[in-house]
C-alpha cells in the first residue's frame, strides 16, 4: 500500500514525462525534417535562379563579342569586299579571345563567306547557311539565345563539332522503345549580328557555343554557385543541361565516376517541366544519388521548350545536418526526461515521506504513545493532515485523561464501597445493642433527670452513627440496574412531586421546563429518581427562602469525547454556589460542606455512580453567590452497563 502510492506517483511522473517526450520528439523530428528539407529546397531554387542568370549572361556574352567585332571598319570593309582571307583570320582571333565553338559570316544574299574550322572557305553551291543567320537576314536585327542544330548543320559548320555533339543514349528508365540510340543534334548558345555599313546590311556575323559535352558552363555553375563544396569526396552541388530529357552537359556522375551524359531525366520531371513548362523543386533520384533538385525549362529563340536547366544539392548533406539536429534534439529531450524523472522521484519522496511518518506516528499511537514523532511540518495539504492528526492525538490524550479520571473516581468509590459494606455490617450489631440499651434505660421512670439527659446525648450520637452507616451502605450498595424505557420528563416530574412539600415549607419555588422531542432512554427509574431527588434536595439546602430551583430536560449530544445522542437533565438553583476549590472534590465520597450531622458526603458520589452505570456522566457549573447548575447526561441507547466491582 505504502509503496504502491509512491510507485503510482512515480509511474504517473514517468508516464507524463514519456508522453511529453514522445510527443515533442515526434513534433521535433517532423519540424526538423521540414525545416532542413525546406531550407534545402529554398536554397536549390535560389541556386537554379543563379545558374539561369549565368546561362543568360553566357548568351549575352556571345552576342556582345559578336557585336563588338562587327563594329570595326576593317571588318566591315573586308565583309563588303568579301575578303575571306582577312575575315577568317578575324574569326580565328575572335574564337581565341572568346570561347565560341563556331562562327561564320554570311553575305546579305545569304551566301556563307567563311567559317571557323575545316570548311573555312565553302564553295558557292555547298554548305547551307546557318539558320540563325537566316533569321537575322529576315528580321534585320541581332538575335541570340539557345537553338538545336541538326547533325547536318553541325557538319556544315565543322565536322569535329558534329562528332562532339554525338552522345550515346542510355536506355529509358521506363524501358520504352526508343529508336534512336544516340543523340546527334547539338544544343547551342548562339547569336547572330547584322554587319552594317552605314544603314546598309552588308552581311551577318554569327557564332555560338556547342553545349553538348561542354564542361565549362556546368562546372562554372558548380564552382561559383556551390563554391566547390564537397561531401565525402563528392561535390555537393551539381548542374546539368538537358536537350529534351537527355543530359548533354553535366557534372552529375555515374557510379563508375563518369559524367552521366546520355542519361535521361525521370518521366515525372519531363512531363512537369518539359511538357508543361513548370518549375520543379523537390527531392529526386538523380542517376545514382538522391538530390534536392530544381529544374526549369530552356526555350529556344522561337520560344519552343527544347531542354532543361537543372541544379541539385546532394540530399545526404542535408540528411546529415538533419541527423545531427535530430540527435541533438533527442539527446536534449532524453536529458529532459531523465531530469523530469529524477524530479519526480524527488517529489514523490517528499510527498510520501511525511505520509510514511504519519503512518509511523499512527502506529506509535496505536501502541499507546500520545506523543508520536510527526517530523517537520510540511507546507502542503499533508501539513494540514499532520496538524489534524496532532490535534486528534491531543484530543485522544484529553479523552484518555478524562476516562482515567473517571476510572480513578469509580475505583475510589468501589474501594470505599467495599470498606463501607464490611464496616457497616460489623458496626450494626453493636449499634443495635447501644440503641436498645439506651432506649430501654430511657423508658425507666426511676432515673435522675441529669442521667436522662446524658442518655439522650447517647441516643442522639448513636442516631448519627446510624445515619452515617446507612449512608455508607447506600453508597456501597451497587445493586443491579433494572432498566426500562422511560419518559424522562415524567420521571423528573415525579421526583419533583416527592420534594415539593419540603420546598413549599422552605419557601423555595421549583419549576420544571420539560424539553420536547426527547429521545427515549432506558434506565433504572427508582435509582435515577433517587439521583434527581438527591440533586433537588442539595439545591434546596443551598437555596435561601425566596430563591428558586429550575429543572430542564433537553436532547443533547455527549460533550464528552465521541458525539453520542442522549438527554441532558439540568438542575439549577439560585443558591450560595460552590467555591471553585471545592468543585473538583464535589463527587468524592465523604466530601461535604454541610454542617456536621447534616450530610454524609455520599449523596453526589452515589448519584455519580448510578449515572455512570447508566453510561452517562455528570458535571457541575457554579458561581459563588449566584447558584449552581448540575448536568446529568444520559445516552439514548444504553451502552454496555458499567457493572461495577462492588456489591
Amino acid at each position: 500500500m505504502l509503496y504502491s502510492t509512491r510507485s503510482k506517483l512515480l509511474a504517473s511522473f514517468l508516464g507524463v514525462t514519456l508522453l511529453v517526450g514522445a510527443v515533442s520528439l515526434f513534433i521535433g523530428v517532423h519540424l526538423i525534417d521540414q525545416n532542413v528539407f525546406g531550407e534545402g529546397l529554398k536554397r536549390v531554387q535560389q541556386d537554379l535562379s543563379a545558374a539561369h542568370e549565368m546561362y543568360l549572361t553566357r548568351i549575352k556574352h556571345v552576342k556582345t563579342s559578336l557585336s563588338i567585332t562587327t563594329l570595326g571598319f576593317a571588318f566591315i570593309s573586308s565583309t563588303k569586299e568579301h575578303n575571306t582571307a582577312d575575315l577568317v583570320v578575324r574569326l580565328e582571333r575572335l574564337a581565341r579571345l572568346t570561347d565560341i565553338d563556331f562562327a561564320g559570316i554570311v553575305t546579305e544574299e545569304g551566301r556563307t563567306l567563311c567559317r571557323l574550322g575545316a570548311y573555312s572557305f565553302p564553295g558557292p553551291a555547298s554548305r547551307g547557311m546557318n539558320p540563325v543567320a537566316k533569321i537575322v537576314l529576315e528580321k534585320r536585327v541581332a538575335v541570340s539565345g539557345t537553338m538545336v542544330l541538326d547533325r547536318d548543320t553541325l557538319i556544315n559548320e565543322n565536322p569535329e563539332l558534329a562528332e562532339r555533339a554525338r552522345i550515346p543514349l542510355s536506355p529509358r528508365p521506363e524501358g520504352g522503345s526508343d529508336p534512336a540510340s544516340e543523340e546527334s543534334a547539338g544544343m547551342v548558345i548562339v547569336a547572330a549580328v547584322p554587319i552594317f555599313d552605314g544603314d546598309t546590311i552588308v552581311g551577318v556575323l554569327y557564332g555560338g557555343i556547342l553545349l553538348n559535352r561542354s564542361e565549362g558552363f556546368v562546372d562554372m555553375v558548380r564552382d561559383i554557385v556551390f563554391q566547390g563544396e564537397t561531401f565525402e569526396g563528392r561535390s555537393v552541388g551539381s548542374c546539368t543541361i538537358f536537350l529534351n530529357d537527355v543530359r548533354i552537359a553535366t557534372n552529375v556522375y555515374t557510379r563508375e565516376g563518369h559524367r552521366a551524359l546520355g542519361t535521361r531525366v525521370s518521366p515525372e520531371v519531363k512531363a512537369y517541366v518539359l511538357d508543361q513548362g513548370n518549375l520543379w523543386a523537390d527531392r529526386a533520384h538523380v542517376v545514382s544519388d538522391w538530390f534536392i533538385t530544381a529544374y526549369r525549362p530552356i526555350e529556344d529563340i522561337f520560344g519552343k521548350r527544347i531542354g532543361m536547366l537543372y541544379v541539385g544539392v546532394l540530399e545526404e548533406k542535408f540528411a546529415r545536418v538533419r541527423a545531427q539536429a535530430l540527435n541533438m534534439f533527442i539527446l536534449i529531450t532524453l536529458a529532459g526526461m531523465v531530469l523530469a524523472a529524477a524530479a519526480g522521484v524527488y517529489i514523490a519522496r517528499r510527498i510520501t515521506l511525511p505520509i510514511q511518518r504519519l503512518i509511523q506516528a499512527s502506529k506509535q499511537v496505536s501502541e499507546g504513545s500520545l506523543n508520536p514523532e510527526l517530523g517537520p511540518p510540511a507546507n502542503s495539504e499533508i501539513g494540514v493532515l499532520q496538524k489534524a492528526f496532532g490535534e486528534m492525538v491531543a484530543a485522544m490524550g484529553r479523552r484518555r485523561a478524562a476516562s482515567e479520571a473517571r476510572i480513578i473516581q469509580s475505583e475510589k468509590q468501589a474501594s470505599v464501597g467495599r470498606l463501607a459494606a464490611g464496616v457497616a455490617h460489623e458496626i450494626n450489631n453493636p449499634l443495635t445493642g447501644v440503641l436498645t440499651y439506651t432506649h430501654m434505660l430511657l423508658r425507666r421512670k426511676d432515673i435522675a433527670p441529669d442521667m436522662r439527659s446524658d442518655l439522650e446525648v447517647i441516643v442522639e450520637a448513636t442516631e448519627r452513627v446510624r445515619k452515617i452507616v446507612k449512608g455508607l451502605l447506600d453508597f456501597s450498595r451497587q445493586t443491579k440496574l433494572d432498566p426500562e424505557p422511560t419518559d424522562v420528563n415524567r420521571l423528573v416530574a415525579a421526583a419533583i412531586s416527592l420534594v415539593e412539600n419540603q420546598a413549599l415549607v422552605k419557601g423555595v419555588a421549583i419549576k420544571f421546563h420539560p424539553g420536547e422531542n426527547l429521545p427515549e432512554v432506558t434506565l433504572d427509574r427508582s435509582q435515577m429518581q433517587g439521583v434527581l431527588i438527591n440533586l433537588v434536595i442539595n439545591a434546596l439546602d443551598a437555596t435561601e427562602p425566596g430563591g428558586h430551583i429550575r429543572l430542564f430536560t433537553a436532547a443533547s449530544l455527549s460533550g464528552n469525547g465521541v458525539a453520542h445522542k442522549g438527554i441532558e437533565i439540568t438542575v439549577a438553583d439560585t443558591g450560595c454556589g460552590i467555591p471553585p476549590e471545592n468543585l473538583n472534590k464535589l463527587f468524592d465520597p465523604f466530601f461535604t460542606t454541610k454542617a456536621v450531622g447534616q450530610g454524609t458526603g455520599l449523596g453526589l458520589s452515589v448519584s455519580l455512580g448510578i449515572v455512570q452505570r447508566h453510561g452517562g456522566h455528570m458535571r457541575v457549573q457554579s458561581e459563588e453567590g449566584k447558584g449552581s447548575r448540575f448536568f446529568i447526561w444520559l445516552p439514548a441507547e444504553r451502552k454496555t452497563e458499567h457493572e461495577s466491582t462492588g456489591g
Binding site: 459494606a421 457497616a424 455490617h425 460489623e426 458496626i427 450494626n428 450489631n429 453493636p430 449499634l431 443495635t432 445493642g433 447501644v434 440503641l435 436498645t436 440499651y437 432506649h439 430501654m440 423508658r443 448513636t462 446510624r466 452507616v469 451502605l473 450498595r477 445493586t479 443491579k480 456489591g647
Partner: protein
C-alpha cells in the same frame, strides 16, 4: 408468645431478649443455625427472628429448613447489610418482612406487632 431469635452476635441476642421480654414475649436465643434447628426439634415458636449472615449455615439456609417443616411460622429477616438481592431472596423464601440493623426497641416491637397482626388477619381471613 414464643419468639426464637437466631444471631451469632451475643449483643444482639441480649438486646432482642431485653426488648421482647419487655413486650411480654418468651424469648429463645440461638447463636447458630444448628442451635436453632435443635430448638425447633423440641418446640414450635410463634415467630422467628433470623439474622442473614452467620458462620457455617446462614439465615437463608435456616429459613429453607423452617419453611419445609413449619411453613406457617412467620419469619422476620434482619441484616446489617441490606441489598435488594438479599431482600428479594428473603421474600422469595417467604419472609414476613425485612428488618435492617441497627434498629431501636420501638422499631423492633412495631415490626413484630405488625407481622403478628398480618398473620392474625390472614388466618382469620383463611378461616372465614
Amino acid at each position: 408468645m414464643k419468639v426464637l431469635v437466631v444471631d451469632d452476635e451475643a449483643i444482639l441476642l441480649k438486646s432482642c431478649r431485653l426488648v421482647l421480654e419487655a413486650e411480654g414475649c418468651d424469648v429463645i436465643a440461638a447463636a447458630s443455625v444448628d442451635e436453632a434447628l435443635a430448638v425447633l426439634e423440641r418446640q414450635v415458636p410463634d415467630l422467628l427472628l433470623i439474622d442473614v449472615k452467620m458462620p457455617v449455615h446462614n439465615g437463608m439456609y435456616l429459613m429453607r429448613q423452617v419453611k419445609q417443616r413449619q411453613p406457617d411460622i412467620p419469619i422476620i429477616v434482619m441484616s446489617g447489610y441490606v441489598t435488594s438481592e438479599t431482600i428479594q431472596e428473603a421474600e422469595e423464601l417467604g419472609a414476613a418482612t425485612f428488618l435492617p440493623k441497627p434498629f431501636t426497641p420501638d422499631e423492633l416491637a412495631d415490626t413484630i406487632k405488625s407481622v403478628l397482626a398480618n398473620v392474625k388477619r390472614k388466618s382469620e381471613g383463611g378461616e372465614s
